[in-house]
């Protein structure tokens, strides 16, 4: 139970941290709305509250410091200047680290932790500082006594007289006595001697007192704890047999002062107290607080009312109602829809095979079935779709940190935060995007003095954009730095033996050398992009998601990384083809055009190259069967069908296949964990006849055959992954 609540806590933390970051970003942009500050305060506060419940002390302590500073901002004791905003950003980043540490059990950076606490403490004034180090105790200053221990029983005499204010707070003497009765054996005597005649009774006045005797093994503090809520709202005295004479005398004197006779003939209220509560006289007393008695409240009330009115206004434009669903349930549904689509293809195939004279009606119905299945599939996938906003917000932090580490100034501008992408894609994009952004700050943006010399603003600008583009999601990272140094990249690639010294590469090919394994342009290992990983990691991560990444650059103006990802990971539109007797699927999105082959279209080029002529232009032919090693390449014979595909960097290529069957929706089955990376293949699917078909990756088939140099390195990369 606690485990799942803890999960809830961490889930909630993520939302709160997002809200906090969004709030801070708004404040940095100059948002002066007190509600924005309030929202950040509440986020930190809620994290602290939840963390306390699970004994996450580091988190509580840090959140407390953070919150204290923010409270002063909230109450305008502190002015938000650039320096404080930056500190708050760092504190928010650290708070997010602490949450991750608490969740995943990592080590916090003690030095950083200490520095930040000290930096926050500078903003906390003396008086509050005491609070900072106040230990977070258990609730209510109440320690339940250990049960196992047999304690000496003591008899306590308790005298209790509620003041009329007590009833305004909803406290009820009877319940307090019940709580006392839990501690031991209680006897209660009502003292109504102060009760005036009926005519003289004033509404709301308190006339009654009680004398109680409690025989208990519990300590005096346990008894006092019972009266905690009414402290100051009643006259209370507690004395025990063991109390010294002076105290007993004092009590007697006090009692005398109240004119309480110590006679035994007062009406005794009999326990047990399990019976329904007797109608207490006090219950009819109107509960009210008179403003005069509490100087602050009138003023507060005005403030609160104003706040209420404002928040009400805010509420009307609030978020749409949402439903939280376990991811597992959604994924089961997605699987079921996948099976439904496969089931549809099986049914369609069987009907086609039927020896029936007229299947038109059935086919019409089947078409309806197909459309419904697609609707359901789209609906289910939409559940998994989430806006990229939280991911982008995290990237803002990466840029901040990278800027701080390199001494450069870079500003992240995000565009298209509302673009929705599959949840898994978002999760798996975090690492590659982090890498690209670090790279952009580290290698893309120039040092401030160089920028100034080039006539640019000293602060670099990085634009992070997300958009939907023809069935795909496109994410771009564009910096306004110096652009890629192609001469240098080429030289490094040659030095590292990645390309032959005489390789003829286009600008775009040179740029994309950066994605090769083992490539790193930084001469010295920098704090950021070093660590022995290159952009090949980015490429692998994106490829694993069925996406593609490329880079383009304009000298002096900057570079741009483009990541193209499929909208969903589960289903795609595919063209079913046959290749050397095997049925395979080519993603529709990759295909520009299909055409039947004939001899006139084939043109030889050199010893083994062949080009396909299409309306006067020539594109290289790539024999899919040959590329996959299914048969020896026979490219000078016309293939059954050519699929014209366009690669990421705009090159066109004709994929030669034997035949095309139809176009249909296929359910993507990942080959991860089944057989490692298969060159030329992105995943598998199950066809209508229950057989598995490979889903081809045109990009990798084309790259594999387009240039010997690239082919070699690509193979090396694949080996690296497979081993």
């Amino acid at each position: 139970m606690t485990g799942s609540i803890m999960d809830t806590f961490f889930e909630e933390c993520e939302e709160l941290l997002e809200a906090m970051d969004a709030g801070l970003a708004a404040i940095e942009e100059g948002d002066q709305d007190p509600e924005t500050v309030n929202a950040v305060f509440r986020a930190v506060h809620s994290i602290k509250g939840g963390a306390g419940a699970f004994g996450l002390d580091d988190l509580v302590a840090f959140a407390h410091n953070f919150e204290t500073v923010f409270d002063d901002v909230r109450s305008n004791k502190l002015q938000l200047d650039e320096k404080l905003i930056q500190l708050l950003f760092r504190a928010s980043d650290h708070l997010s680290d602490l949450v991750v540490c608490a969740r995943d059990g990592g080590q916090i950076d003690e030095a950083h932790h200490t520095v930040l606490i000290a930096a926050l403490a500078e903003y906390i004034d003396e008086e509050e500082e005491e609070l900072v180090f106040e230990p977070m105790g258990m609730g209510a200053a109440f320690e339940p006594a250990p049960l196992a221990e047999v304690q000496q029983e003591t008899s306590y005499d308790i005298r209790f007289h509620p003041l009329k204010e007590m009833f305004a707070t909803g406290n009820e003497p009877y319940f307090l006595f019940q709580a006392l009765a839990d501690l031991g054996t209680l006897s209660v005597k009502l003292d109504d001697s102060e009760l005036p005649g009926f005519d003289a009774m004033e509404d709301g006045e308190s006339y009654l007192s009680w004398e109680l005797t409690l025989v208990t093994g519990e300590s005096r503090s346990s008894i006092e704890a019972v009266f905690e809520f009414v402290e100051g709202l009643c006259e209370l005295s507690i004395s025990s047999e063991g109390d010294d004479a002076a105290e007993a005398d004092a009590l007697a004197a006090l009692n005398a002062a109240f004119g309480i006779p110590l006679a035994e003939d007062d009406a005794a209220v009999a326990l047990p107290l399990e019976q329904p509560a007797p109608e207490p006289v006090e219950a009819s007393a109107p509960a009210e607080v008179e403003a005069e008695e509490v100087p602050d409240s009138a003023e507060d009330a005005v403030v609160e009312k104003a706040a209420v009115a404002k928040k009400d206004a805010a509420k009307s434009s609030g978020p749409k109602p949402t439903l939280r669903v376990e991811l597992d349930r959604v994924d089961r549904l997605i699987n079921a829809v996948g099976e439904l689509i496969i089931n549809h293809s099986m049914l369609a195939q069987q009907i086609a095979n039927l020896d029936a004279s007229d299947t038109r009606d059935v086919e019409t119905e089947l078409e309806g079935f197909k459309n419904l299945a697609r609707d359901i599939q789209e609906g289910v996938m939409a559940i998994r779709a989430q806006p990229v906003k939280p991911l982008f917000q995290r990237m803002a932090r990466i840029v901040r940190e990278a800027s701080a580490a390199t001494g450069k100034t870079a500003k992240l501008i995000t565009i298209g935060e509302a673009t929705e992408v599959d949840k898994t894609v978002i999760e798996r994009l975090a690492d590659p995007l982090t890498h690209i952004l670090r790279n952009a700050v580290d290698h893309g943006i120039e040092a401030p003095e160089n920028r100034a010399a080039a006539g640019k603003d000293k602060a670099g600008e990085i634009r992070l954009t997300a958009a939907h583009r023809s069935g795909s999601v496109c994410i771009e990272v564009k910096d306004d730095g110096a652009g890629l140094n192609r001469k240098k990249i080429r030289q490094i690639a040659i030095d590292k033996g990645l390309i032959p010294a005489d390789a003829e590469l286009s600008d775009s090919e040179i740029d994309n050398l950066l994605f090769m394994p083992g490539f790193s342009t930084a001469k010295e290992i920098s704090n950021l992009s070093g660590r022995g990983v290159g952009l090949d990691v980015v490429k692998n991560a994106v490829t694993a998601l069925g996406g593609r990444v490329s880079i383009s650059s304009v000298p002096g103006e900057g570079s741009m990384f483009s990541i193209i990802l499929p909208l969903t990971l589960a289903v795609m539109d595919g063209m079913v083809v046959s290749v050397a007797g095997h049925t395979m699927v080519v993603p529709i999105t990759a295909i520009v055009e299909t055409m039947r082959g004939n001899e006139d279209m084939i043109n030889n080029l050199g010893s083994d190259g062949t080009l396909l002529s299409i309306r006067g232009s020539f594109v290289p032919i790539c024999d899919v069967a040959g590329s996959l090693g299914l048969r020896t390449s026979t490219t000078n014979e016309p293939a059954g069908v050519y699929l014209l595909v366009e690669t990421e960097n705009g090159d066109r290529c004709a994929l030669a296949v034997d035949d095309i069957h139809d176009q249909r929706q296929v359910v993507i089955k990942s080959l991860d964990g089944v057989c490692g990376n298969v060159p030329g293949v992105s995943a598998a699917t199950i066809l209508g006849d229950g057989k598995i078909a490979m889903i081809l990756d045109p990009e990798s088939i084309v790259t594999a055959s387009s240039s010997a140099a690239v082919f070699d390195t690509d193979r090396r990369m694949n080996n690296a992954i497979a081993s």
Binding site: G629, L630, V674, C675, G676, V678, G680, K691, I692, S723
Partner: protein
């Protein structure tokens, strides 16, 4: 795995024996999920000789290995008479092609003999012990050595 088979079980363990390239092998019955008749599989491009391809097992894509090729024996010409033994490796189903399934052997763990040292190291790694059954030698397959992990199968 080896220790488990040799020392932990004091009661009889059950093994399923089958033939691969004419030799008798066996797997503990608890390692086997199901046995299916051979059906043509989907070939994986560029796959090594001992990876036959992938098969659809109730909606899941599972890899199929040719045990014979894996052991360095000749490749099996798979046909309808052959069987695919579906086992679990690291909780993932994997299919193993064998010629045919023979019988279920119940054996006292004490009767499992250590594999005598022979020259063929490759084979040695795959065998974790031998059983004498009807005067025939039955080799116990060390499943984790045969399929260390699906991802590690280099292609």
């Amino acid at each position: 795995m080896q220790l488990q088979a040799e020392t932990k079980h004091t009661e009889h363990s059950e093994f399923v024996s089958f033939t691969v390239a004419g030799q008798a092998f066996c797997l503990q019955i608890t390692q086997i999920r199901e046995i299916r008749r051979w059906q043509p599989v989907t070939v994986l491009p560029h796959a090594p000789a001992d990876v036959l391809g992938v098969m659809n097992l109730r909606g899941a894509v599972i890899p199929i290995y040719d045990l014979s090729a894996r052991f360095g024996l000749q490749q099996t010409e798979a046909s309808e008479r052959n069987v695919v033994i579906v086992v679990s490796v690291n909780d993932k189903p994997v299919g193993l092609l064998a010629e045919s399934v023979s019988e279920i052997i119940s054996i006292d763990p004490d009767d499992i003999q250590e594999t005598p040292q022979v020259d063929s190291r490759n084979t040695m790694d795959f065998i974790q012990g031998i059983i004498s059954q009807n005067d025939e030698m039955v080799r116990i397959i060390n499943l984790n050595a045969v399929i260390s992990s699906p991802e590690q199968v280099s292609l």
